[in-house]
Amino acid sequence: MTEARIAGAYIKGWGDYVCEEGGELTDLKPILKATLGQPVRRIGRFISLALIGAARCLEGKTPPPDTAVYFTTGSGDFEVTVEVMEHLFRDGFPPKPLSFINTVSNAACFYVAKSFGLTGRSTCIGSRAFGFETALQLALLDLKMGTIRSALIGSADIVLQPVAIHRQRLAQAPDAPLGEAAHWLWLTADGEGGALPDCRFFASREDLMAWMGGFDPDSTVLGLGEGLDDDRFSLSRTFDYRTGRPYYDSRTAAAPSAFLTQAGSGETMLHVSTDGAGRYAAFTVRR
């Protein structure tokens, strides 16, 4: 009898960059140079963040060259977009090439792939409410189908000055702390221990609750996405990764690494997000 082996999604590494920004923005160039060991030319804050987070996730390890990159962002590269638009419409000049090429959504993926010698597929995925979950689900599907054996899944969001205007742009309260952040996970099809077994979408709360009924409340904690602060669903224990963390649109991507850093072996987090229109996304992380 031959034992069929279904590939999983094992956690090989994780890494983050998070910094609250309220006035003069942190100079990322020395951080990037110290993290990567060399400066990277022709990039702005957004791509710098993506690179810093990815380097921290890999911690000097070399991923297989065919590692795929899945990347998401809440607000995208506002810096370069605003720069190009102002140059074009306010100043009346054509966009400068070095800015223009970085307006493409996959630019951050390109720099991550180039910096770490990756030649696998690279995909930037945008989804207003479920960006991280969408990228994660695609990576999990590719890993479990055997299409890929290794994946980097990441996110980044920047702050643009003036911060007060950016706060309005993100529909945050006037005193809400804003942050710049990047979060990355390295998943492999083979491994042991920590894993991201599942990521799903639900058309209704009833569908979500039916699925959640299969989890043991003694060994599962609940992580809650934006706007779900007081909802306990069917679980009594919660894992709070948002209190004390500045706001950025891709904050859900902080949940896996925050949980992995704090949880004990064998614990599971079930994370739930909503789009505010009755739909839900959920993923699980096992330490």
Binding site: K29, P39, R41, R42, I43, F93, P94, K96, P97, L98
Partner: protein
């Protein structure tokens, strides 16, 4: 500093700024050093960036092909090109 020397210094500073070579001191660029494909590690994308910056800062358009290769050969060549084009339109 003569007008010519000032122009060379300004062009070097412009190239360092526009091509994101900020780890480099502009004065490190030699007046006759090859700009594109040489030791400065600038490529065709940088050439386009420099051409657009010249148009914005000096009002001089660098056309593609042989003109661009000639104009962007070095800092001295770029200054010569700008002065010649300005003289032509004056």
């Amino acid at each position: 500093m003569s007008d010519r020397a000032q122009m060379l210094a300004d062009l070097k500073a412009m190239i360092v700024r526009e091509c994101d070579k900020e780890e480099m001191d502009p004065s490190e660029i030699g007046d006759d050093e090859r700009l594109i494909g040489g030791g400065l590690d600038l490529d065709s994308l940088d050439a386009l960036q420099i051409s657009m910056a010249v148009k914005e800062n000096y009002g001089v358009r660098i056309e593609g092909g042989p003109d661009a290769r000639k104009a962007l050969a070095s800092i001295n060549a770029l200054a010569d090109f700008i002065e010649a084009e300005r003289g032509r339109s004056a």
